[in-house]
């Protein structure tokens, strides 16, 4: 993190700058956009939006941010606040119900890999060749498409943006338990898909 923007990451450090933001000081706003726009944009792409949609989304996030600045008390990190807006805007665009399903078919796929004593029945296949190949980018994009939106979002925020789990829970407004279930299902589903693609390549 760039030191000169550290107050943006933790506004509690510099109340003055938070005040500047609230006064819509152009310099402070520019700094906030320069610091966070790229992360929000990449996350949007990761979540499956195309480049135009992703750019519109980021613009939406900052528009809402400007409108809601007075409610931002600096208790949560600015980044968390922005990603929270991104999450809500992305949901609006998808018009998709965001919920954690009680039953997900991937759970039985996972269980079917082990015997009753929890030993591997169908161990993971060797995928080194797939991961080393040029096609891995396409394979990843293709397999991400197969993830339900909620699982995909958790996976992107955690594995790509490398946000803390607590922060992700705040952004998505879910419990740690729910988030863990989503992350587990996302990783298992993605790995299963990659294995199906990589089958026979070894």
């Amino acid at each position: 993190m760039l030191p000169e923007y550290s107050w943006l990451v933790d506004p509690a450090i510099g109340k003055v700058n938070l005040e500047k933001l609230k006064r819509r000081d152009p310099e402070a706003l520019t700094a906030a956009i320069e610091e966070h726009a790229g992360f929000l944009y990449r996350a949007s792409l990761g979540m499956g939006f195309n480049d135009t949609e992703a750019e519109d989304l980021v613009q939406d996030v900052f528009r809402v941010f400007l409108e809601s600045l007075d409610r931002f008390e600096g208790r949560s990190h600015l980044r968390t606040w922005l990603f929270g807006i991104l999450h809500r805007k992305a949901m609006e665009r998808r018009r998709e119900q965001y919920r954690e399903e009680q039953h997900d078919s991937i759970d039985s796929v996972f269980e079917s890999r082990f015997d009753r004593k929890g030993r591997w029945l169908r161990p993971p296949q060797d995928l080194d060749q797939l991961f080393a190949s040029q096609e891995i980018g396409h394979s990843i994009t293709h397999c991400l498409e197969g993830l339900p939106a909620s699982q995909r979002e958790v996976f992107i925020l955690r594995e790509m943006e490398e946000l803390e789990t607590q922060e992700i829970c705040k952004i998505l407004e879910v419990s740690l338990t729910n988030m863990s279930v989503l992350l587990h299902r996302a990783k298992i589903r993605l790995r299963e898909c990659l294995e199906a693609l990589g089958w026979g390549k070894a």
Partner: protein, 81 residues
Amino acid sequence: MGKGMMNSRNVAKTLTSVDWESLSAGRRFSIRMHLWMCQHCRRFRRQLKQMSEAVRHTFSTQPISDDELSRRILERLGLHE
């Protein structure tokens, strides 16, 4: 759970759902012990790591640069000086 050795299913489940840092020392130890003996779980863990790296790499090359993006956003919000 948590007592003694972990089985492969529980290791795989733990590795996919929780942060390593959030695990107790005892739990970490039993996972390490299991990984030491189980090549399938080692492969599984390696693939999780490869997956994350591949995702980061895939989206690291983006259509427009961060600077250009910021410039456009500022302009669209009417904040460009």
